[in-house]
């Protein structure tokens, strides 16, 4: 998780957007959120008391296939739990998240989506924040591998991921709930518990103190950790947007 870069609100015509780059895996993503919007075509499927979250994943060099449908389902289930779809103005409407894979390794037929999943999750979170969609909590995700000799490896490259005995993607909410777990390969439960602890520490090691932080502060700022990274990206953007005001004080 070293050297992640992201920026918010790059697209002017969507309600919110984010671009995200993960150097370890080489993925470069662009996410856009439109919310709340009317979805007349899906009138029958809309839920009366909450918002419908729709996720679209577009690979960079081809049209979406069965693998994208699957990963869209995973993202939808995580995000609809985090989006406060019952807030005013949201019920019976849609929250539409579009994620384009701009760069990085192409995923072939039947390939596991685990390597790109954390990047997809972070991009959609940043785009949701940029669109000011009410969220019950934020989250962060990480990819952890276990290699053939049983050692836990982090910051996996695509080659590492291919060689690993098992791969795990875990997402934790800002309140330490396990929001998502996707594990595949061959492993036993004790290994998974170690992986879980490791992933939690990767996601949580820190909570970056904001300048006027109103949430629990950690000891030190560390933007290499996903959650602090999310916070920092948002802060950067806010600082930029309100520079006129901050400067005038």
């Amino acid at each position: 998780m070293v050297g992640l870069t992201a920026s918010l609100s790059n697209l002017s015509r969507s309600d919110g957007s984010a671009s995200y780059k993960c150097p370890a895996t080489g993925y470069d993503l662009l996410g856009a959120v439109n919310a709340p919007i009317e979805l007349p075509a899906r009138r029958d499927a809309l839920k009366p008391e909450e918002a419908t979250v729709e996720v679209f994943v577009k690979p960079g060099n081809t049209t979406a296939g069965v693998g994208e449908r699957y990963v869209e389902g995973i993202l939808r289930s995580v995000l609809s739990k985090v989006v406060l779809g019952r807030e005013r103005g949201f019920p019976r409407r849609g929250v539409v998240i579009t994620l384009a894979i701009v760069g990085g390794e192409t995923l072939d037929r039947g390939d596991s989506y685990l390597t790109i999943l954390p990047a997809l999750l972070h991009t959609s979170l940043l785009a949701l924040l940029s669109a000011a969609v009410p969220l019950s909590m934020t989250f962060s995700a990480t990819l952890v591998g276990v290699n053939k000799s049983g050692a836990i490896i982090t910051d996996l490259s695509a080659a590492d991921a291919k060689a690993a005995a098992s791969l795990h993607v875990l997402a934790f909410s800002s309140k330490n709930h396990l929001l998502l777990n996707q594990s595949e390969g061959r492993f036993d439960f004790d290994t998974w518990e170690q992986v879980r602890d490791r992933a939690l520490s990767i996601c949580k090691d820190m909570t970056t103190p904001g300048p006027d932080g109103d949430i629990a502060m950690g000891d030190e700022a560390d933007s290499s950790r996903p959650e602090g990274f999310v916070r920092e990206t948002v802060e950067d953007r806010l600082y930029k947007d309100y520079s006129w005001k901050i400067d005038s004080i």
Partner: protein
């Protein structure tokens, strides 16, 4: 079934509301299921689901293999009211039809034959097996829900998002579990050891392009001439919840039933010919027996997360839950039926295998909520391991 169990297990349904249980179930599905799962403590009844099962009980499962004539292997799996039919059809992929074959393979295959079986080479061999199956698309699973299996799936429409993601899940599980061995799918050809004259003669006949002078003494390395491609098609005839378990079990049973005819490269015809003799055909030798079990989490108050002003920390929540001890807040239901699936968001999918009595997790997926963590997952792995024993018995009998 719902009505009979409701009258005994759901005294919570007020009598003043003179609705038959079946209508109560439709109007207030969440309250209906909750009433079943949390009987009043005075009644001393165990919590039981609206369908009469205990929370960790799977539906009655049956499997029947080999009943379809036009397949190499087939199976019907019934999981309660969910029925999946799987047919495996094998076709031949000539290496001539693979665009990148001649470049990548000719060197590779020769190398592989010469090297010993040290650890590095085993790894290289594993990688080659993986590459053959995954990169050449030798396994082609597709699931179809457009069979009128449930209302809401338009027949003869293109595959729905659910069907597509199920197809992907099955393919991905076939790949990660490495169930099918690449060696079973290869069709080898051992070029004859020709003397110089014969070779000359064959060259004249344009039979093959071989270097007559170079290695006449050496045994020619065998080469792969073709692969079997397995088209694995799953028709979901009836869908009443938990499509993945039923589909995967049917794939597993059908692959266990699959027989591939003996095939060889026929020099005269320049094509692959097969023998129709059953005795010469080969069953697939599958790696392990990964069994999937799905669970869903039913929450007493589904909207708790929405209403809470501040969502408690995971640790705090644990403490709170233990305080609430007597009043259970969530139930983990094994093998959910269609009715239950409509009431839950959080799901857990597990695929486990057993090696020498030891449980190995092949896939563990948890999504859609925040209530399940390691303790619950550990229990679910144990339940899945028990389910493995049960399914193994069922599959061994079919």
């Amino acid at each position: 079934m719902a009505s009979s169990s409701a009258s005994t297990a759901a005294p919570a349904a007020p009598n003043s509301l003179s609705l038959p249980p079946s209508q109560f179930a439709r109007l207030q599905p969440h309250a209906y299921l909750l009433a079943h799962l949390s009987p009043p403590s005075s009644s001393n009844q165990p919590s039981i689901r609206a369908n009469g099962r205990a929370p960790s009980q799977f539906r009655v499962t049956s499997a029947n293999a080999g009943s379809l004539t036009h397949t190499n292997g087939s199976a019907v799996v019934r999981l309660g009211d969910t029925t999946a039919v799987c047919g495996v059809r094998a076709e031949i992929l000539h290496t001539d039809d693979i665009a990148s074959w001649s470049v990548s393979q000719s060197t590779n295959a020769n190398k592989r034959r010469r090297i010993g079986e040290s650890e590095k080479e085993t790894e290289a061999k594993d990688e080659e097996d993986r590459a053959h199956i995954e990169d050449l698309n030798l396994l082609v699973p597709n699931i179809s829900l457009s069979t009128g299996c449930a209302p809401g799936f338009i027949p003869s429409a293109p595959p729905s998002a659910l069907a597509q993601s199920l197809s992907h899940q099955i393919l991905s599980l076939l790949h990660t579990s490495r169930l099918v061995q690449a060696e079973d799918l290869r069709i080898w050809y051992q070029p004859p050891n020709l003397g110089p004259e014969e070779a000359q003669q064959h060259n004249d006949e344009e039979q093959m392009d071989l270097d007559a002078g170079a290695n006449e003494e050496e045994t020619k390395p065998a080469e792969i001439k073709a692969f079997w491609v397995l088209y694995i098609d799953i028709m979901l005839i009836s869908l009443a919840g938990n499509p993945f378990d039923a589909a995967w079990a049917s794939v597993l049973a059908a692959l266990r039933d699959t027989k591939l005819p003996k095939a060889w490269w026929d020099v005269d015809n320049e094509s692959i010919l097969c023998s129709d003799d059953v005795k010469e055909s080969q069953k697939l030798s599958l790696r392990g027996l990964p069994i999937s079990s799905s669970f869903c989490v039913f929450e007493a108050d589904a909207a708790a997360g929405w209403r809470a002003v501040v969502i408690p920390d995971a640790e705090e929540q644990k403490v709170q839950d233990s305080k609430h001890g007597s009043q259970q807040q969530k139930w983990i239901l094994a093998d959910p039926d269609g009715y239950e699936e409509g009431l839950v968001q959080e799901r857990v999918y597990l695929v486990v295998d057993k090696e020498e009595g030891k449980t190995v997790i092949v896939k563990m997926e948890k999504l859609g909520g925040w209530t399940v963590d390691s303790e619950d997952l550990r229990q679910l792995v144990d339940i899945s391991a028990q389910r493995w024993d049960e399914m193994k018995r069922i599959l061994d009998q079919c």
